[in-house]
């Protein structure tokens, strides 16, 4: 909702009735300008009190409930004027409107009775009344609806980022806390949608997987073995989860140690040598990472190369030659025997002609040599065969088991491997030479990194600070330790995942029969949905970061364009564990050394505004209420800041000391000004130490 007005009765320094303490606000930038002690923070308190029944306790530096603050809530002047036995009522009325122009009046009332000059009997709690405008009359809203209406004025999760005081900016965006940006993004953007979907799909997968395993277990004959395997699967799954967590923790600790080292190196005075060593160290690290990656890939692929690169054929030349020799002799003998069989018929096919052959069969006599050839004799059968020549091939093989085609295929296929066999030794040797080369490079780079580290230590030592040197050594040890833990953790993880596959395969073998296809389908679908949900979340988050960085830089640019000091730009740098931290960098991407406080405040404000603007258009639907936001900013930064507020938020209400002596008419368009009020504390009797005389004068500036 957008704030229409706020009015107070006897609320702290705002002595008197509502009509004397009334602010009406418009769209755009609304300013309430006052000197120190002029009532600005108490106006901010009024907003807070009417919605949350809390007030900022200056001594405790925290918000406290009304029942704790008690008579301190009351105007000192009203308390002074009240007779003993009389009551002082405190009221704040806030009127706000929705996007659909629905009006709500939120009133909070508190009362205290004066029992003597110094003591008050206070109500145990304040009273909240919420009215809704219906046609032209206010209609009281039931208590059950109060919370939802108050949440529509400003949602709870938005409140810290849209209603705050200048001194709270540092805490809202603490750059030392690596998760600060992520917390804000998680709270204010819709990234939680994807977190929810990850959780839902994971639970869906766990349930589907459990159902599938249960169904499979019912089909298993060897129940004992199945039970053991199921237990192993569960335990291994937990171990995998624990190992992944441990790896992430070690990675984070590694990054922390690295950051600490960088920080200490940053303290070295000889900047030039430091930069040169740092650059060389970074380059070496890149090379090391690359070589280690290559080495890991080669090692991982070594066993596969037995088959993919035919290493298994190493030293098989002699076997191949032996087979080739045997095959040659075999096929030669085979051909000879086949040829001999084929040449048994020495006469040409049509000699004698078939008519004569038939005649010979009829007369049962060979007409060539004159011999008898009675029916049924060998001679008769021989003549008959002459008739069958060329019409029908004999399908009776001369070999009992003719393996010639198999051996031929085998021989021809082996020929294709001949070259591979010849070159296998060379290929294996090349691969291992490569491994050796990589290992030597890694040793070389590590050695040089150690030398650089020692050089750094010497440079640090020159600063004559034992603490720094000891710290440096400790962080180096930690860095190496965590790096090693990450590497060994990853190796363990590979082993555990391999075990998991093994158990799953073993279990699958025990299953006799088929489970319902829907169970397997559900298992697969939920698994895939979960994997995609995780990936989508990361991609959406990274895109959000890109947009945030761009928007924050637009806002930051607008805020700083009027001043001449070096301002840099905002870079959201990804660090360990997926966190992002904001940095201020120059145009070349190098971190700006020692940015001034105003710069830092503006960066934080730009980021907060950018996050609010990113999704859901909070800036359109809710008012930004700030109390003295520029209190820690240099003057030359404030113009840009107010201009950005006016452009970014549909309504902002800012209490400030700025422009106290300025003519704001010139800035009306530039700031998109709504209402402007000037407030000042009044002590009619002239004694500025007498709080019983204090009231606030409110003057609206006509623009």
């Amino acid at each position: 909702m957008i704030i229409d007005s706020i009015s107070m009765k006897n609320f702290q320094c705002y002595y008197g009735e509502h009509e004397n303490n009334n602010f009406k606000f418009n769209k755009g930038l609304n300013l309430v300008i006052g000197d120190n002690g002029g009532g600005k923070s108490k106006l901010y308190d009024a907003f807070y009190w009417v919605l949350y029944d809390q007030v900022f306790h200056s001594d405790r530096r925290e918000f406290v409930k009304t029942k704790i603050y008690q008579e301190n809530l009351l105007s000192d002047k009203a308390k002074n004027e009240c007779s003993i036995g009389g009551n002082v009522d405190v009221e704040v009325i806030l009127i706000a409107s929705t996007a659909q122009d629905k009006l709500y009046k939120i009133s909070r009332i508190y009362s205290a009775k004066k029992t003597n000059d110094r003591e008050w009997e206070c109500a145990t709690s304040s009273k909240l009344i919420v009215d809704e405008m219906k046609s032209t009359r206010w209609s009281t809203v039931s208590r059950e609806k109060h919370d939802s209406i108050l949440a529509r004025v400003i949602p709870n999760h938005l409140k810290p980022y849209m209603w705050f005081q200048g001194e709270q900016v540092d805490g809202l965006m603490d750059f030392r806390d690596k998760s600060t940006l992520e917390k804000a993004i998680n709270l204010l953007s819709n990234i939680h949608v994807y977190d929810d979907l990850i959780s839902i799909t994971k639970n869906g997968f766990d349930k589907a997987n459990k159902s599938l395993i249960t169904a499979q277990a019912r089909l298993v004959k060897d129940k004992d073995k199945a039970e053991k395997l199921t237990a192993s699967l569960e335990k291994n799954k937990k171990d995998i989860g624990a190992k992944k967590e441990a790896i992430e923790k070690n990675r984070e600790d590694y990054e922390i140690a690295k950051d600490k080292i960088d920080e200490l190196i940053g303290q070295i005075e000889d900047a030039k040598q430091k930069e040169s060593l740092k650059a060389e160290n970074n380059e070496l690290q890149l090379k090391l990472d690359e070589e280690n990656k290559q080495l890991k890939n080669i090692y991982n692929s070594l066993h596969k190369k037995m088959f993919s690169d035919f290493w298994i054929l190493k030293n098989s030349q002699k076997h191949f030659d032996k087979f080739a020799d045997k095959y040659t002799r075999y096929i030669s003998t085979h051909n000879k025997l086949t040829a001999a069989e084929n040449h048994k018929d020495v006469l040409p096919v049509n000699v004698p002609q078939p008519v004569y052959v038939e005649q010979m069969l009829d007369v049962e006599k060979c007409l060539v040599c004159g011999r008898d050839a009675k029916n049924g004799t060998d001679e008769y059968n021989h003549i008959k065969k002459l008739l069958e020549r060329g019409t029908k091939k004999t399908d009776v093989s001369i070999f009992k088991n003719d393996c010639s085609s198999i051996f031929s295929k085998l021989y021809n296929d082996c020929l294709g491997f001949k070259q591979l066999i010849i070159s296998t030794n060379e290929r294996i040797e090349n691969e291992f030479n490569k491994i050796e080369e990589l290992k030597n490079n890694i040793i070389k780079y590590n050695k040089r990194k150690k030398e650089i580290s020692d050089n750094f230590e010497d440079l640090i030592d020159d600063n004559k600070s034992n603490n720094i040197v000891n710290s440096f050594r400790t962080h180096e040890m930690n860095r190496d330790k965590y790096q090693s833990l990450v590497t060994s953790g990853e190796a363990d993880l590979i082993r555990l995942e391999k075990n998991q596959s093994g158990y799953e395969n073993e279990f699958a073998k025990l299953v006799k029969g088929e489970v319902k296809s829907e169970l397997e389908l559900a298992n697969t679908i939920f698994n895939n949905l979960h994997e995609i949900a995780k990936c989508t979340r990361n991609e959406v988050f990274n895109k959000l970061i890109e947009e945030l960085e761009e928007n924050a830089n637009d806002l930051f640019g607008t805020m700083t364009e009027k001043n001449m000091s070096i301002t840099g730009k905002i870079k959201l740098k990804k660090i360990s564990n997926g966190h992002y931290i904001p940095e201020i960098v120059d145009k070349n991407g190098h971190i700006l050394p020692s940015p001034n406080d105003s710069n830092i405040i503006l960066v934080k404000l730009a980021l907060i505004m950018s996050i609010i603007n990113s999704r859901g258009k909070w800036s359109e639907n809710y008012s930004l209420i700030l109390d003295a936001p520029t209190s820690k900013m240099a003057e030359k930064y404030t113009l840009g800041f107010y201009e950005t507020l006016g452009k970014t938020f549909k309504q902002s209400i800012v209490t400030t000391y700025d422009f106290i002596d300025s003519d704001l008419n010139n800035l009306k368009e530039q700031f998109n000004l709504g209402s402007v009020y000037i407030i000042k504390s009044l002590y009619p009797n002239g004694d500025r130490t007498d709080r019983t005389d204090l009231s606030i004068e409110i003057n609206k500036v006509e623009l």
Partner: protein
């Protein structure tokens, strides 16, 4: 906060993991929408997930809706 279901679905479809798992081409992905029915049970399960979640159904209701789709 109610989420925009078209936006959520589009983000899933643009994901690299989605392309890797389904093997769909760009054209096939562009043809997927909440309004059109596909014969692919995985796509319909994904849509059910998005629709029921964005309707602010409980987790149980979301999972039940997906399982119903898988079983039909």
């Amino acid at each position: 906060m109610k989420c925009e279901r078209e936006d959520v679905l589009n983000n899933f479809l643009k994901s690299e993991k989605f392309k890797e798992i389904t093997g769909f081409t760009e054209d096939e992905i562009n043809n997927i929408s909440l309004g059109s029915d596909s014969s692919d049970v995985f796509i319909e399960s994904l849509k059910k997930l998005v629709i029921t979640y964005c309707n602010e159904d409980s987790e149980m209701q979301v999972l039940r809706a997906i399982n119903t789709r898988i079983n039909t």
